[in-house]
Every structure is written in structure tokens, then in C-alpha cells.
């Protein structure tokens, strides 16, 4: 263990979202307040509350290093692998001579969804006698060898993004697959930062991949009032996600994936890699109560911000802005604002607050990493884009200003936050190079 902590920089980025797959163009779309939600067509959503989602382009399979992986990897894992490779390419890893044992990977991944079990569906339905509440296990056992794809377990492994990322890039060092709902991607970045800082690795690819848009997840999202009703639109679909706005009605789910290459600064410079931004601090804490159904205090978010700033050796006044979680959900947005107000109460000026959720949609496990990429772009451009669809919070805001216009960044550091609906929060401080 060393006393002086190592510095961590970002040397590569890759993402794939409903708004495209190039960081520059996605940042430009955020600046231009664009979005690209599409009607769901993969399954029947007629007469249901959820009609739209953020959907990525189909993965370009010609870019796969080994086409055979298609036998195992599902769409989301294919998108993840291609994005991982893009981030590595961006960081110039193809020709870099780095010890594989000093390179690692952290992924924030979505859970196996009920919709992932489709290979079983036909047989399960055939074996069920719901009139009498029975399931014929005998028939299931007898016929499964003939009727179910033998690779189903491998296809539904929740760590496939990690597995295929490490295999393809020969990353043999530290690794983990985090599964803490929406914070998972930022959690992965934070752990990557800590591992490099504490000399467990020199280079980490970290980020997240959101789950597929599938009916069971949407059904539960509707049940718990998390998703917006997009069946009776008064205006355009782009107006639905309204972060921290008094008229907010819920969020829209999006596919997507985002990865960053984190690297020890001297290591990056020695191989001629250009740092894109600096990771300065990370924090993680939780509310200790389930935040989805009742307004949690968001003390976890407050604590996470405190940890991240302390690690970065910064005060609230040193921040140029926050790229927040704000997904337009009724309960979570309310408590998120409360946490910022409490933490920023001693700032000289209100902290500028924004988010790209109205543009990208709720990318769940990939949201933290995608917003971190946009944060790095914001630092580079010196601009903090506005929050689309925000008119005003239901209460008078103190110490926080939700940005309705793009503004110049007054300070060279940005805070990126993420929360899950169980009250777990992460915060990461990014700085300009």
C-alpha cells in the first residue's frame, strides 16, 4: 500500500445509445436537445401504457473478432462487446504493450430477465395445467433435452459482458460484475478508479450495459409506477422525461452500453496515450430504505458526494456542475434534489444541475458510464448542456439551479451521480486534464 495515491485518467471511451454510437455526436445531440425514442415493435404493446423505448441500432456483426460468439451472446451482450472494443481502440490498446495481469475490467450489468428464458417458454407452457394449478415436471424433464437449446445457461449468464470483454482483450487482472440496478455502471467505474489508485491495476475498462427492452420488465415498471405512460401522449415523445420538473411522470427505458478506459496517469503518458479527463474521487453509500415506493431521505447520495469530494480534495465551491441521475421519476427526483440542496447549502452560488436522461432515456446499468462520458465531453467543451423539458421544481430551489440553457462551465470539475431505486447512490468527480 502506498501513501501517495496514484492519479487516474480516462484514455478511451465507447458507447452505444439510442442517440447513436459516437460520443461527439451524442454530446452534440444533448446540446441540441435531441432524442430518438422509437415505438416498441419487438412485441405487441397495443393498448398498454408503455409504447416507446430508446433502442440502439442493430450490432454490426462484421466487427466481431469471432463471429461464433453470436451462438452465445444475446443482443445486449453483443452491443457490450463491440462497445468495449471501441473503447479499447479509442485508447490505442491494440498496439500497446501492457502486462495482461495489470489490466482489468469492471462491468455493471443487468440481471437475467424473464424474457431471456424464451428457450424454455414453449415447453413450460406445454407442461403447465393452470386449471388445476399443476406443473408437469416429468414431462418437462423428459422433453427438455430435445426441445430446449442446450446453451441456454451460457446465453443467460449475467457476467457474459465481463467474460467476453476479458477474453477478447486478454484482460487478466482484477475484475467484477456489479449488479446493483441503476448504479451498477458508475459503481464499476468507481471500483476501477479505486483499483488503479491503490495499485491493483494500471489499466481498467469499466462501464455498464443495460438490459434488453422486454415485456416482463416493462410490466413491472408499470406496476411500480416507475415508467411513464406513453400511450396517451399530449405532446411529442421527446417531452416525456422531465427531470426534477413538477410535471414529471416517470421515465422511458433505453437500451445501451458505455465503457471507459481508466489508466494510471504516468502509465498512460509513458505509452503516449492522451488523457481525456481525470477521475478525481468516488463515493458510494445508501439510504438504508427502499426508495422506490416512498420518499427516501437520499442521505446515501449526500454521503456518496461527500466521500467523492473528500477523495478529490475539493469543496462544493470547486464544482462546475452536477450531471445528475434525474430520470423524471416522481419520488426519486424529489429526494435527489433534497440531497443536493443539503450538500450544497454553503456554496456561494447555486450549483448548476443537469442530466441527459431526456435525451438518452433511462439506460439503467449503463446510465452512470454514459453520463460520465458526456461529463468528459462537457469538460472538454467547457459547456454544460441544459436539462430538456425542465420548467420548474414543485418547490422553490435553494443552492441548486437546474440548467434550462446551456452554460459555460465555471469550474474544471464535474460531479456525476447515480442512484438505484433501493436507495444506493454513487458519485464520481471528473476533472479537466
Amino acid at each position: 500500500m502506498t501513501d501517495k495515491k496514484r492519479e487516474v485518467v480516462i484514455t478511451g471511451m465507447g458507447l452505444d445509445t439510442a442517440l447513436g454510437a459516437e460520443a461527439e455526436s451524442i454530446f452534440a445531440s444533448w446540446l441540441g436537445q435531441k432524442n430518438n425514442f422509437k415505438p416498441i415493435s419487438a412485441f405487441n404493446v397495443q393498448n398498454t401504457p408503455v409504447q416507446f423505448a430508446g433502442l440502439c441500432q442493430d450490432p454490426d456483426l462484421t466487427k466481431l473478432p469471432d463471429r461464433k460468439v453470436q451462438k452465445i451472446l444475446r443482443r445486449k451482450d453483443l452491443l457490450s462487446l463491440l462497445t468495449t472494443l471501441k473503447a479499447a481502440e479509442h485508447a490505442g490498446l491494440r498496439d500497446a504493450k501492457i502486462s495482461p495481469e495489470r489490466m482489468g475490467m469492471y462491468v455493471g450489468a443487468s440481471s437475467t430477465q424473464i424474457g431471456d428464458l424464451t428457450p424454455y417458454f414453449t415447453l413450460v407452457a406445454e407442461c403447465a395445467d393452470l386449471t388445476h394449478g399443476r406443473f408437469d415436471s416429468q414431462k418437462f424433464g423428459h422433453e427438455m433435452l430435445d426441445l430446449v437449446n442446450p446453451l441456454v445457461v451460457l446465453q443467460t449468464l449475467m457476467n457474459n459482458a465481463l467474460c467476453f470483454g476479458t477474453m477478447t482483450l486478454d484482460l487478466r487482472g482484477v475484475n467484477a460484475n456489479f449488479m446493483d440496478f441503476q448504479v451498477s455502471g458508475l459503481r464499476a467505474l468507481g471500483e476501477g478508479f479505486q483499483s488503479i489508485r491503490n495499485d491493483r491495476a494500471d489499466l481498467i475498462i469499466a462501464g455498464g450495459v443495460a438490459g434488453p427492452i422486454e415485456p416482463f420488465q416493462l410490466a413491472e415498471g408499470v406496476q411500480v409506477n416507475y415508467l411513464a405512460d406513453t400511450s396517451r401522449l399530449q405532446t411529442s415523445i421527446g417531452d416525456v422525461i422531465r427531470p426534477w420538473d413538477k410535471g414529471r411522470v416517470g421515465t422511458i427505458l433505453s437500451e445501451g452500453t458505455a465503457y471507459l478506459v481508466l489508466e494510471e496517469k504516468e502509465h498512460a503518458l509513458a505509452r503516449g496515450a492522451a488523457p481525456l479527463a481525470v477521475v478525481k474521487g468516488f463515493g458510494i453509500a445508501n439510504d438504508g430504505q427502499l426508495a422506490i415506493f416512498s420518499p427516501a431521505p437520499a442521505t446515501g447520495l449526500e454521503d456518496a458526494i461527500g466521500q467523492a469530494l473528500a477523495q478529490a480534495n475539493l469543496s462544493p465551491d470547486d464544482l462546475g456542475g452536477i450531471i445528475g441521475h434525474g430520470n423524471g421519476s416522481k419520488i426519486q427526483d424529489w429526494s435527489e434534489i433534497r440531497a443536493y440542496q443539503r450538500f450544497m447549502r454553503n456554496r456561494k452560488n447555486p450549483i448548476p444541475l443537469t442530466t441527459a436522461y431526456p435525451n438518452l432515456g433511462d439506460m439503467c446499468e449503463a446510465s452512470g458510464a454514459s453520463q460520465t462520458i458526456l461529463g468528459a465531453m462537457a469538460l472538454k467543451a467547457g459547456l454544460l448542456p441544459a436539462t430538456a423539458n425542465h420548467v420548474g421544481f414543485e418547490e422553490t430551489l435553494h443552492h441548486v439551479e437546474v440548467m434550462t440553457q446551456t452554460t459555460e462551465l465555471a469550474k474544471p470539475s464535474i460531479l456525476v451521480t447515480s442512484r438505484n431505486f433501493f436507495g444506493l447512490a454513487c458519485a464520481l468527480v471528473l476533472g479537466r486534464v
Binding site: T2, G141, A176, N177, N286, G300, F422
Partner: protein, 426 residues
Amino acid sequence: MAQKRRVVITGIGIVSPLGPHRESTWQNIIAGKSAAREITQFDAASWPTKIACEVDQLPNLEDALRPQLRPYLNRPSEFGVHAAYEAMGDSKLPKSIDPRRFGIAVGASIGAISPSQLAKMLVGMPIKNGLPDLNQTVAKSSEKFLTMKNHPGTLGALLSSQWHALGPVTTIHTACASSGQSLGQAYLQIVRDDCDIMLAGGADSLAGELLLAGFCLLGALSTRNDEPQKASRPFDKDRDGFVASEGAAMLVLEELGHAQNRGAPIYAEFSGYGETASAYRITDLPENGRGIVEAMDLAIKDACLDNSQIHYINAHGTSTQLNDRVEAHAIRRVFGSRGLKPGVSSTKSEIGHLISAAGAMEAAFTALAIRDQIAPPTLNLINTDCGDDINFIAEKSRKMTIEHALSNSIGFGGSNSVVALSRFRP
């Protein structure tokens, strides 16, 4: 150089097919009892594999989880909640601890949705492109929170709420390495001063139909259906696959000074941790043991030990052909050069393979082995094809000096974790 913060184990809770508590399970492990039997949770008569290790005794939930949190439980989470309750009681943590310095790390379950739950939603539902009609899904999702309760992240959230742990909550799924990694993560968070206390471990159930079917299809399970208790035979030449199991183990990890200040009981010191990726193939391991070797080396180095000081290894030893051969080779590569070889056993021979919970369960057994200075046996290890030069502990427990020990976990997908535990010396 700042001195590394030391981490000790101050509480252990276990729910297993060999008993609903830590000591009952451990006594059965030491006695060399096998939990494998004919599956009782469903009629498996027509299945290629008809055996598993099942939990059939559970205490009631009365004090283990508040009623308002219970709707989010699935079977593995229920195991995890019970194991956490026992571990927390065992550690005797006072109410005065700082909740912000108290976190949770869980090796997540693969999930436990049953075919009958699935069937309820599927029967009569029109399918389009292989997916059900969302209209019907919303209407038919009669079981509330089905997705949420089967999400691996839910157990950690429930535990943080139940025990008012306001520090980091971490859920890891790296298949069979999940809870070994969750313990490692908990250890690292205390070492780097994020926390003083972590409740860490894993919970899983592989005894349900869908998962069991998946592993049957993969050909990974033993089909020694006529002799269930002889089916799990790690490192034996007649091994033919693993035996599915279920249960949970949770450990309370604590910074040494914090534990000493409150006079906490100490099972063992969590002295080191190693984590690697094999970066090879999704289910196969490189024959040279790459990844496992480095993880053991890292754990030993992190514990400031050399390999001659390791007395016991609780091996991953799944009873599958490739895993056992490669792990034995990896052990040989790390320890082969010295005369006194560590004793090696796999407790999967008694308790089966708990997948996401395996690493935590086996680390708990390793801590208990250090406490009692006795190494548990590998059952059914009669003739090994993994090398006579490995000091396997076969058939019967062995009373022995165990100052330092390793617990290995090797996951589908290539993640490896090795936990180093040591007899506590102030």
C-alpha cells in the same frame, strides 16, 4: 508506508442442506456427511439428473426480516436473510456502531424463478417474435415484484435496510466466483478505509427446475442418480459432474481495532485476497492453470506470506473433469516445489455446488477449520487422476495445525478469487 488495516471475521451465519445453522452444518461437514439425495422439490424421475442437495429446514423469519421487506424475498434471498441474521447475532455488534461505516457485499444468486411462476404468465399468452404480448404480461403478472424479487441486487438492498447499513452495498455476480469476490470486495473496502464493518457473503439455489435444467443441458451435473452420496467426488478419477445445491453463508468482516475495542469474538484474520480473470473460454480453463495460479499468488503475497506457510486449501473442486484437473495443476504450480504440501480438500463433496454462494460457504468452512484446527475431508476421493503429489485430505477430517489457509473460487466466465485466512494473532 502506511500500515495496512487488518480485517478479522467476527461473525458467521450458515444455512445449508446440512443444517439450518453454522454449527450444525460444520459438525456434519467434519463428520463427512453428504447432503446429496433424491430431489424432493419437484418430480425429477424423468430427468437426467435426479439428485441435489436441498435445504429443508429453515427457521421462521420472525426476527430475521421486517414484514414489510418480505414481499421481495425469493428462495435464495430467504437463505441469505437467515444466514445474515445468524452472523449478525454471532458477531454481537452493538447498536452504537456508525451505520455509515457499515456496508454489505453479496455474491448474487443466479435467480430462482420457477416454471410454475413462468407458466402462470405464459399459458394462453400470444407470442410474437418469441416474446409474450405485453398486454397479457401486465394483466397476468399476478405475482407482484416477480422481476424485482428475482434480481440479484435485491438481497443486498434488503440486508442494508434490515441492518441499517448505510455504507456501500455491493452485489457481484461472476457465477461460481461471486461470493468469493464479494468477500474480497468487502475486505478491500475495509482495508482502504471505506468502512469498518462489512456483512458479506452469498446466497443461491440451484435446486429449482429451470436452473437445474440448464445445467443438465450443459452436461455439467453428475448423473450418478443411484448413489447420490457418492456423486460429488472432487479430484477422484470417476467424477462425472457436480451436484447442485443451495444455501447461504454470510460473514461479518471487521477492522481489527474496531473489533478489539468492543471485545468481539474473532474466528480468523482475513489476511489476503487475490482476484484474476483467466481470459480464456466461457466454461473451460487453460490447462496450465493460468489465472488460478496468479490468484493464489496474489492472495499469498497480499497476506505477506510465502507459500510454505499455507497449511490448508479449501479447493473449488467441483467434481467436474476439467476443473479438478486444472485446479490440481495450479496448486502444484504454486506449491509443488516444497516438501511440506498444504492439505487440500473440497467440501463440495459434502454439500454440493452452491454456485454464487459457494465461495462464501467455503470461506466460512475455512475459518471454522482454523478455529478448530481441523481440515474437513473430500468425500469419495478414492483414486485420483489429479496427481499423487497433491496432499489431498480424503474421506476423513484431519486434525492439523492450520495457521494460514486459502479458499479458492473459479467461476464460469473466467473470474477467479482466492481468499487467504489466518489464525488470529494479535
